[in-house]
Amino acid sequence: MSVRHAILALLSEGPKYGLQLQKEFESSTGEVWPLNIGQVYTTLQRLERDGLVESDEAESESPQKGFHITDAGSTELSSWLNTPPDMTSPPRDELVIKVLSALRVPGVSAHDVIQVHRRYLVELMQQWTRLKEDEADFDLTFALVVDAELFRLDSVVRWLDAADGRLKRAASTPSVAPMGPRLARRLVVRR
């Protein structure tokens, strides 16, 4: 996620000061991701340079500098909201590489390696779930952030489960052919 677009989203509600943007950013992410004020001002300067926000400095007598979004800023925000992030090619995931490496190391059980990571992920999920226990303290933005973390970790656990099952089946039917070089070349791995 980019701070730049999060600030544009906050300014789309109306003009705001830097300090106000910092506070609203933190509360809009359930206060899970703090943001320092220096970064707010650096980002505002860049947005102003790019014509996406304007400061009210000239029109206001207040010592605090207010900012508002421009038409170009609104267009940029709308375009960002509707553009899916790049998920087309698989990232180089460290966990995937560890499991693939475990298959080649003599004396190492890939099942055991998978279990070490599975347990760690479930322990992390237990911690995130504890944050949900008290519904009274659980506001909407915080709930969305916690859910996002839980679904992200859950997807990794599911991959480990699938990998575990696939390795078990492969061990009982050792005739599974390795992936052909042509298909492997077509999978462009990016960082």
Binding site: P34, R119, E123, M125, Q127, T129
Partner: protein, 244 residues
Amino acid sequence: MSFLELRRVSRSYGEGAAEVHAIRDVDLAVECGSLVAVMGPSGSGKSTLLTIAGSLEEPSSGEVAIDGASVQAMSRNDKARLRRRTIGYVFQEFNLLAGLTSVENVALPLELDGLSGKKAQAMGMAALEELGLADRAAHYPDELSGGERQRVSIARAIVGERRLLLADEPSGALDSTNGEAVMRMILTACKRGVAAVVVTHDAQLASWADRVVFLRDGRVVDQTMPPPSPEALLEESSRAGPWR
């Protein structure tokens, strides 16, 4: 003291070359007020473990103790009484009787145990109220959503003095919101002293538990450590470096 204890419990089916070991040498202890999740893939022995813990099936070897008493040493009648009074079961398919309302379904195990209809209904209503389902008391199962049906089946499992709750994939047929509601209800029951075991392949459900036990090929291969305070996550997140 543990309310439920499995000591070196094994269960196998068939003989000789056809023998299949469903679970082997399983040790498991569940305290009053705690929720333990058992995670594992299909065929890992989760459901067998649960049916043995609930005295619905005999182990081939090993011992099961509930509230300090060995289940194997009990007479048939004592075991039946234990199942009627102490243990509540929750299944993926809800298993509610279609011709009975919610409160009648919840009160049924008490009536079968000899309680008067009036008293059983009052206790059934109290269980529904405790779980926030009072407004569904007069509804029949086909008038309830899947999530509500499962919540009624949890009320049935904890009605009266039941102190052990055993749930087999309790939210398998539900979406994530209803699955969460089901786990919250099980936690509510644990907070008033119930010992609960949930078997599931779903990490999001398992993460509601105090402890997660991992089963593979019928054996306990690992378990989670008590998690540190969740606040540590937020501190970690604030150290995650600057935003891009």
